[in-house]
Symmetry: D2
Subunit: 302 residues, 4 copies
């Protein structure tokens, strides 16, 4: 029951990294929003392993819409999204059957459930985030209709802060070196949100910053969430640009028994678009929750 | 956000009757339960249109497990179940594009969402219940491990109470006549639950009878829910056998503009297994919710 | 965790019948609604034991507003409502300490919790409904602003249907007789809801009729919920008047060991206003949940 | 609807800082736990303004138990806790009626609700946390029965890390100076949790670290949450000690128009016990949610 996010605009994800498929069910999406399978390509590609900064594993993350869309527009009913798992090469992971990798969820999943999918992390794999990104595309479409934009970028690799072209070059070299030599580095993502009007957030527990913190901390490897002051006061948006930093630990699998697996030397390059997705899901849910806040709004649309 | 049922053991369903597929995501299922695709056959067949008592439409409701099961056992992670829609014959429904059928959800879906899937009812179709039945199979497996059995049967067709072979014969004839002549009749299902220990239910709003009433009233066409006294007191099970009657209105589509569609003269024949599923989902969720009720139980499994 | 009702507009109740106080916390009420303690008097009086039809116990159910209201208007923050328990006469119930009364929650509460408040039923007492009625007053105020009215009335006492003055006289006599002779009778309440526009309800599990069924079945002693067709189709309101029948079992305590307690010969007389409250809470929550259903509505109030 | 925390073990808080009272309703507490009003004294005192490190306002935070406890033990029913607001001196805040204080929730609450309690911050006041601390006492009692301890301490004041007696002395002086001169400083709390077995947490969204981040970020003034690695892997506890840092911004009210109000130069001194409470509420809820995770556990207590 920990696989559903949101209260009004909800996302339920499923799928192990080396099972048949992963996916998401988005419930609470308004009707009448144009949506087709091509809308997912750009963000799915951003998450997909690229050239220098990310893994060489050739994932194909085409999103199939199973329900909730008719004649090119959302129906208001649940939107089921499916992403097939391809290129699984189970033999790469066969040696992991009897091993709990340090720094991974192997042991904790086993401690909790007593039965685990040892092939590449199962549900604890970074692959799970593909379903979040797909759901995030829908949230971003809704937010876009309201004039809200979300942008997350790599802001730090190891100790290198990415402030200009030069530092970006250094970071690129560091990642290459890390990949080649089998070590890994910490990294950070900076997320900016614009266009949210004043008044969004639900004190005292569901403060906008509290729910954003949860959303971002739920990304694998996140260790640290930091808000810049002023844009959220007492848990409610002030109308200013929001800036959030998410720090990730160095990924654990490089240079260990999983060497044959195809992993990344840093988390941020692929996590930026995941952070955008999680922020978008959180904001959409909160905006929908806000609409009952004032009687005059209620009357306007009754 | 109305497509998830349960608090701890949850089911999220999706899918329009004439879209690509329907399905369910079951979250909160304990790890270690044996489960394979053959487990679904019997209940899916009970729901499937048969010979005399139900429609002649040839649905195939094979359930595919997409996630949450590894080496034949549940992982504790979300179990995604997929049922393809086949034999869709969209032309049968083309004439419904501009018509709101009386007694159906056509108008209310349109009023709510402003955009609807007019092909055979979309999400409001009885086909949606196939996903419930599939999820119910998992709930019944869990309940079976605890010694709980649920059995729902047709108890009334029109005014004929099914008390013996003779009345069953009469009912069968009435259904044939109704199908042939294009009229429809009301019907009832009687559901019996055995093996629930005393102490299950969460006063004061989530009483066991209140949540069962919701679960059963959420089946399309249900109009009336009645509990026999004694087995649930103050919202909590007493340990006695539970008996519940669910009454259904006559289905609306026979003899109207949807004549070409393939519908049933009464709801109960196919709804009995759906009622079982909904009762099983409710009980499983409540049993899981109960385990924090007493400190001695907590300590026993900590 | 079964003491909160609703998803967006929520009510949490607390309190044992013979403890210090009972009360409710209403969360999700829009700001700017005029509210003061006198607003509660009429409904609390309707629930309070009166003359002929209900018990002679002299309860005082003044509602104190502890929070959520400032300068006569709601703040949008939680509204805490407190009702003191007076005239407790614990000696009346001392003899119940070691007895599980038949038909009450005494045994099931004990089975569940292993420790119970034996004084007059504790949380399972009908007194718990006073908190629901208080919360319902707030819901009705909101619904009133939207032009929605809810009216519940006794429709049957024993076998007497209340259709005119004459039958009402008969019923009155029956209740007097029952009270005098120490027996009790079944009863029904009919609830009518007007002014709900088409489009309210959340398929497929949170259908409006399903959630109303739960709400009404959660009232102590309810055994049977029946919807008239046409006003809710596929779980969504059609804009027509809604009519619902709630049937109650005969109350259990008359003529038994609790004779010294002051109880009613039928449930309906005091339950009508409780049914109104529960219907109002359900509708308010569903109306708030609906506002995210369509993009054009969202844009209108953004 | 943002005032309830938790899914199975839930806390709903209410109350404005200068209203009649604040309080909490705890639902889902197991029956049979010894609890009386004296149990709250120690933690309420820790939160109460003391001598040097905190404000001089003389709050009295006695907790009254209104329900859920009978003959000294919890009943399993909702526990309502009430804390009267005393010494309100509304004149202190009269000048704030037409002013939105910088860095406070004054503007955002107004933007959201259009009507606000301008007396001392209303619901956005730090006083709201008294209800959290009271609820936290109950959670700690439950955790104590399972051998779990939580301890939060001030770890930094301004730039001074509190590592020994000497640095503590420096910090004390800095706070005195800040109070005297009317400026304020940032601060940090370090929270340690011991005794949590491996296996607690609900991937993928309700990871234990994600829910702790939300819980701690919901404390007013929190800007930054950081987890030490190793104790939570893939969202599930590993059995190791957990260490979390919460950083707070400098409180906003010192030296501004609210000078006459009685506020603190740093947040951490009073927030440490609030952090403990929030961590305790989160853990209790997650432990209760875990008990359905494995079939063998279920069978053991059925």
């Amino acid at each position: 029951m920990g696989n559903t996010f949101g209260k009004i605009f909800t996302v339920t994800t499923f799928g192990e990294s080396h099972g048949t498929a992963i996916g998401a069910v988005v419930d609470g999406c308004p009707a009448g929003i144009a949506l087709n399978e091509a809308d997912f390509l750009a963000d799915m590609k951003r998450r997909r392993p690229g050239k220098a900064l990310t893994t060489s594993r050739k994932e194909r993350d085409d999103v199939t819409i199973l329900s909730g869309v008719f004649e090119g527009k959302t129906l208001g009913t649940p939107i089921a999204l499916l992403i097939q798992n391809k290129d699984q090469r189970p033999d790469d992971y066969a040696n992991l059957k009897h091993i709990f990798r340090a720094g991974h969820g192997d042991f904790t999943y086993y401690a909790k459930y007593g039965h685990r999918d040892y092939r590449g992390g199962g549900r604890a794999s970074g692959r799970e985030t593909a379903a979040r990104v797909a759901a995030g595309v829908i949230a971003k479409k809704i937010l876009g209709e309201l004039g809200i934009t979300i942008s997350a970028k790599i802001s730090q690799i190891g100790n290198i802060r990415l402030i200009d072209k030069k530092s970006a070059e250094f970071a690129k070299k560091l990642l290459h070196k890390a990949k080649g030599e089998g070590f890994s580095v910490s990294s950070e993502v900076a997320c900016r949100i614009n266009g949210v009007k004043a008044g969004i957030g639900q004190p005292v527990f569901d403060k906008l910053n509290a729910d954003l913190a949860k959303a971002l901390m739920s990304i694998g490897g996140a260790r640290f969430i930091k808000f810049d002051a002023c844009s959220i006061l007492a848990g409610i948006s002030s109308g200013e640009e929001m800036r959030i930093i998410i720090a990730f630990k160095p990924p654990s699998s490089v240079g260990d028994v999983a060497k044959k697996g195809r992993h990344d030397p840093a988390i941020a390059p692929r996590a930026a678009v995941v952070a955008e997705a999680m922020a978008a899901l959180t904001l959409t849910d909160h905006i929908f929750r806000d609409f009952s806040g004032r009687l005059d709004k209620l009357k306007k649309i009754w």
